[in-house]
């Protein structure tokens, strides 16, 4: 990332963290206050105040860096642009796959959902040979099921669509 982009992202992240600190600080007023000893509000308030100060510092630092950074136009090659786009797509698909897996496993169960999750992840990691995808997905799921369900007796989610 260029200095200018880093500085900009620092400002944005600083603002997000500052907002978070303010939100939690405000919410701490909904908690009960204890006269003697440590109140449930004390620690969160200390944390949020320091966090707000640090976030403000990051914002100031980011703004200063933005001003100091020379506007260097970053020209990217067509290949680089395509690579970045592909990565962005892969990132989104893996995020959807992971979240989808955690939602579907409760209905499909571990044995059914896991091979699909693994196959999808392998595809995203550019595995092209379908037989390898099937073998790895099925064998890994079987080994993990055997180890955790049979040996460790973990009650893995089961197929429960109805």
């Amino acid at each position: 990332m260029s200095d200018k982009v880093t500085a900009k992202s620092d400002v944005v992240v600083g603002l997000i963290l500052l907002g978070l600190a303010i939100l939690f600080f405000a919410l701490s007023f909904t908690l009960p206050v204890r006269r003697a000893g440590l109140s449930p509000t004390t620690f969160p308030r200390f944390v949020t105040i320091v966090m707000a100060l640090l976030a403000s510092g990051l914002i100031v630092q980011g703004v200063r860096k933005q001003k100091a950074a020379t506007a260097v136009s970053e020209k990217r090659s067509a290949d680089e642009v395509t690579r970045r786009r592909r990565y962005a797509l892969r990132f989104v698909l893996l995020a959807v796959l992971g979240i989808g897996y955690t939602q579907l496993i409760r209905f499909l169960g571990f044995v059914v959902a896991t091979p699909f999750m693994m196959a999808g992840t392998m595809l995203l990691f550019d595995e092209k040979k379908w037989y390898r995808i099937v073998l790895v997905a099925v064998i890994s799921t079987t080994v993990l099921y055997g180890l955790f369900r049979i040996v460790f007796r973990v009650p893995l989610p089961r197929f429960d669509l109805w």
């Binding site: 908690l31 000893g37 449930p40 620690f43 944390v47 990051l58 939602q103 999750m117 693994m118």
Partner: protein, 496 residues
Amino acid sequence: MAAVIDAVIFVLTPFHFLFLFIGVAGGIIVGALPGLTGSVGIILLLPFLFYVPPAVALIMLSGMFCGAIYGGSISAILISTPGTPSAAATVLDGYPLAQKGQAGKAIGVATIASTIGGIISVLCLIFIAPQLARFAVRFGPVEYFALMVFGLTVIASVSGASLIKGLLSGFFGLLIATIGMDPVMGYPRFHFGVTNLLLGFPMVSVLIGLFAVSQIFVELEGVGKPQKVFNQSMGRVLPTWKEFKGLLTVIVPSSLLGTFIGIIPGTGGAIASFMAYNEARRFSRHPEEFGTGSLAGIAAPEAANNGTTGGAMVPLLSLGIPGDVVTAVMLGALMVIGVRPGPLLFRQSPQIMNSLFVGLMFAQFLILGLGLLSVRIFPKVLKVPVRILFPIILALCFLGAFSLSNSIYDMLIAFLFGLVGYAMRKLGFGTAPVILGVILGPIAEQELGRALIMSHGNWGTLFQSPIAIFFYIISLFSVSYSLKSGLRKAKPRTTG
């Protein structure tokens, strides 16, 4: 003596030894594979830890720690890519020697140096940790709170490039820790009406997400790039007796230096290995050979980085504060299996500590045996395709998150924290300070609460203990040192 014999018998019990072996061998593989570190290795062990006795879990984790630190040297030597940050200095001479067709000897020297470094550091651990714990057993809530404050200042040391970002990460961790029941009154805080949040975020899921799942997203960036492989001859593995004798003058002081640096919270193997490398070059009769494949240039950083393993466990086991990132993750893992490191552990569970010490010693010999016998297998390990490895790791991450409380919600949290961890890494925020905040924050709050209850709400009690004042002073020193070095780093940028 009887306790030591009992511990030896415990470790050599086939079932227990198998777990130690899995820890060490797994650690070597994890360390050797670029992208996977000791922290990720420990996280991948989490799902297995719940089903073994705490002592076995502890020796398995320690084996993983030592194995991973050593394993990092393999990829450093063979493909010039350190498997772990601790092995960065090994590249300087290991890779040039491998390029000369002596990769086997480079790995052989790294293995021997790591083993000796490990043995020396374990001996120091055995002698120092119990003494420190015996002293710390007198600590009350005030001293503990001060100790946790000191532990939290380690955040400044593990902050990485930007101090302000590191501190923000640490306070983000502390903020996460405030969600759920408050540790003093048990009052639910910041749960936003979500029942699952009443107990806060599950620590295991946060660990898995921040360290392991985020790494999968990082690896996704490398898709399409060719994987580095080693296709040259390995040559002879063992150094000659004369070479070995010459190297001992480098290995022993480097091991002691590594152990000493390891004991200081917030340092770690990377700093120790570079310092040992520089010292070895400074005292060498042939400093010009360094950087061209010098055996001393491999032995010094390897002895030092394995020396940090025992050193880093001194504050972890005796005081309950982590010495570096890996021990911070280990602290989290131990708390999950119900072991709270600290002085009381020595008093309440001496058999666990004895087994750990003996297990750590055996782990060094396992490193020696596995390292020397597997030299010709290592190039094949590096050929494991990431497109197979990381989907399996993702499945293990999900299983690890699920196993703790058989909850699908925990799996979701692990994955979401993986996204948070990835974003943090891309934006230059370290994930290690978050973990320190999440782990030490509630302990600090609890001890503060206890101290205030015992003193009937008198805040002055926090400054009445000389030990507590000592910890506040070294905390201030730690923060000001980090601030100073942070400013020194930033100066050339702003003026230049």
